[in-house]
């Protein structure tokens, strides 16, 4: 199990470590970021039903809010461009709506990672008083059961009557389809050197050099770990409100989880302002500045920042046909 027991000697390991850490690896470019798949295998029937549910405002208490209200798939890349989304009766939450695109690749859901997967996530907003505001799932089921088409569809697809588990399962199945493959950077990763511009290429190098890639890695460029806000510089020194939310601490009550959040995916970062858990940062430039200052303990010149942002733009993929 242990690496050292698996045929490596101390010296070999040390040599390898030196090799990598000193950035001398040219022949074997380390895989920080990997492309996302072209499409996700889903149960088409369930996904179709899930799509109907995703857009159905009857999931909210006053029939005003659907999933798509805060996760606008058409204009806003799966988010809504607001700092805080407005739920039923104009009530507002306390955290920024993340994009639903590529959420399937996130290791956990919600900013504080309190949901393990999309299914668990989908249970949350419907009965959240400041989101869709339904009193109970029983009520949701009763409401949907008034629609004979739903009753028929659930019966046909799941072989049973409507219930909470099936509703969230269908929605999650649909959300699996919401991915953005074929980004220029993915094409670049797949060997097409010309897919990205020189500036974007430089931006990628800077992204690695500044250390952004330490956390924003993997196929979702983030979304596979937790990190503390302000690891190299106390976030209390930030002029905004980023220090106010205790993040994962609210879930675990572990002291070390204070201001810890899920590292968000950067795949649609340039399209889904405002930024951070409380949506308090309006521009990508500001967001990059804050990240480099508080997370990486550096300052970033405007040129570098602009290259990095150019790189981030190369991460924006295509919305697959037929899912909207």
């Amino acid at each position: 199990m242990f690496l050292l027991n698996a045929g490596f000697t101390d010296r070999q390991v040390l040599a390898g470590l030196l090799f990598v850490s000193l950035g001398c690896a040219k022949a074997t470019e380390p895989t920080f970021i990997t492309p996302i798949p072209q499409h996700m295998a889903v149960d088409e029937a369930k996904a179709k039903l899930g799509k109907t549910l995703f857009f159905d405002k009857r999931l909210s208490t006053d029939n005003s809010i659907s999933c798509a209200t805060c996760h606008d798939l058409n204009g806003a890349f799966g988010a809504d461009g607001q700092q805080f989304s407005s739920g039923v009766n104009g009530l507002q939450g306390t955290r920024n709506s993340p994009t639903v695109f590529n959420a399937v690749f996130n290791f956990k859901q919600f900013w504080d990672g309190r949901a393990h997967d999309l299914v668990e996530q989908a249970r949350g907003p419907v009965t959240n008083p400041v989101e869709m505001g339904m009193a109970t799932w029983t009520e949701v089921v009763r409401k949907l059961a008034d629609d004979s088409q739903y009753v028929e569809a659930f019966q046909q697809i799941y072989g049973q009557g409507i219930n909470e588990d099936l509703i969230v399962d269908a929605i999650a199945e649909y959300e699996k389809q919401l991915i953005t493959p074929n980004s220029p950077f993915d094409q670049f990763l797949n060997g097409d050197e010309s897919a990205i511009t020189a500036k974007q290429k430089k931006g990628y190098e800077l992204f690695k050099a500044y250390g952004c890639v330490s956390c924003h890695q993997g196929k979702n460029v983030g979304g596979n770990m937790f990190q503390k806000m302000g690891v190299l510089k106390d976030i209390n020194l930030q002029s905004g409100s980023l220090n106010e939310d205790l993040g994962r601490y609210e879930v675990t009550k572990n002291e070390w989880d204070k201001r810890v959040f899920k590292v968000p995916s950067l795949r649609l970062a340039v399209k889904t302002a405002p930024y951070f858990h409380d949506g308090s940062v309006k521009t990508i430039e500001e967001a990059v500045d804050i990240m480099i200052e508080f997370q990486l303990g550096r300052t970033v010149p405007k040129d570098d920042r602009s290259s990095i942002i150019a790189f981030l733009e190369s991460l924006v993929g295509e919305i697959p046909e037929g899912v909207l």
């Binding site: 199990m1 242990f2 690496l3 698996a6 390991v13 040390l14 390898g16 470590l17 030196l18 990598v20 850490s21 000193l22 950035g23 380390p30 895989t31 920080f32 970021i33 990997t34 290791f107 393990h116 250390g211 890639v213 330490s214 956390c215 890695q217 993997g218 196929k219 596979n224 770990m225 937790f226 990190q227 503390k228 690891v231 190299l232 510089k233 675990t252 070390w256 810890v260 990486l296 303990g297 550096r298 300052t299």
Partner: protein, 584 residues
Amino acid sequence: MKPSILLLIYLSLAIGGAAGIVYYQSTLPDTEQMNNDVSQKLLSIDGLNASVGELALRSRHHIDNNYDNLTRTTALLEQSLVSLEQRYFNPEQLKDPMLLRNFELLNKEIMIQNDLIESFKSHNSVLRNSVRYAPAAGQNLMQIAREAKLIEAEGLYAQVVRELLEYALLGSSLSEEKLKIALPKLAEIETALPEFAQIAHLEFTRHVKTVLDEKALTDQYLSKALLTTSSSKIQGLSQAWNQWIMQQSSQAARLDQWVMAYIAFLLVGLGFIAWKLRSLYLHLDHEVAVQTAEVQKAFDDLKESESKLVQSEKMASLGQMVAGVAHEINTPLGYISSNVDTIRLNMGELDGILQSVDMISQEISQSKPNTKKIGNIVKRMVHVYRSMRQRETLSEIEDLLQDSSYGLSEISDLVSSLKDFSRLDRTSVLDTDLHQGLDATLKICSSLIGQRQVIKTYGQNIPLIECMPAQLNQVFMNIITNSAQATADDGVIEIITRATDQGVEIEFSDNGSGMSESTIKQIFDPFFTTKEVGEGTGLGMSISYKIIKSHGGDIEVNSLLNQGTQVTVKLPLKQSQASLSVIK
């Protein structure tokens, strides 16, 4: 106790036992399939758990440059545990606290391990960033110091970078100590630096501090994660599981024993029932034999008494017939006897004449006949004869003899009828003239008929009928007797015969008292009679019915109360083979 209650109890026990076994079996899991599945899942969890450690190490040592694999594996591990819990290790399904506790221990351990891995990931990223950046920043500062002729500072930067790399990459605790000592020195040289380099210096210092802090934390979290006892917990769970499976198998074996016991119980019960049934049947056979014997005896008795009754009916008929015949014979006998007496009286006078003739003959044969004596004898003889002639004695004798002769012929006729009626000389089935039988019967019944008018309307060309004439005559006598008894002294009895397609129809009608509906219904029932006790046996019509039916014929009765009765007898020309045997 009644056998039926015993049977009920037995059945209840049998059903209860079966239900119990089925229920017990339903509480037993399908251990084989379960065992395979759980073992496989535990194996896969063990594998995933090992992978987590390996992948964490790969990340720690930058062999993996993203956490996707590690994250996917920890997620899989969690999912496996969740599915294992849902499928098998939930308190609703699994009642074994030991096993549940073992699973809970493993689950908790994996959760702790995964939390440690998450912390490791976070710190490892930070550490990695600083380890990567700090040497470059240090070299940059060395350059600045060199240019500013700050040899001490340059040396310090170089030392810090060297120690930092040594510490970060080799984990030397000596380097750690040296770094910790160098940190305050770094703070001291800050003021000597050119102003533009101060920010870079602060950044460098921060990253060096970060390496110091984060390396300790990263390694701490990683080693804690690697040193969790999850692996032994998996083994613990495996062992507990195997133990539990063995326990289940022994329970299954126990169930087998119960099933065997149950089958034995069923067999014993069945044997008992079979034995019970057998004795019941034996008893029944005996009972049936006894009953049959009784019934047979009753039947025999009945048959005997029936034949006795039939016999007595015959005797009654015979008596009646004899009475009639006696009366018929008595009348001519009476007057014949008186005629003979009268003739005997008159014969005395004739005797005197004959004696006189004898005396005359003696006198004449004398040598010297006494003429005077002869004359006297002749005179007395003539006197007697004249007296006889005067009294018409001779013609009276003639009349009496003629009368007596008639009487004797009457008797002869009767005897002949009697012979015809009884046909004692003929017991076989014969082609018979029914009119002869009817006439003979009427003759025999003539005393009973008395003054009643008998109208005989015999049809032309009535064919001979194959029958037992004596039996049919008995039927006729029964009907005629009934008619005579039912009618007034001046009543009318009509007998019509006619030929039909099938044979012959004989219709007896009278203008007698008739019968009610209910009487007609019972008329052929044995022992049914409307006559006074002693007057009829109640078998006449019943026997008549039997006789006609045995001849393949039919007998119908129509009657109106106080109007009269009509009895129609239909007889076929020939007898079937079956009928012949019945008749005989």
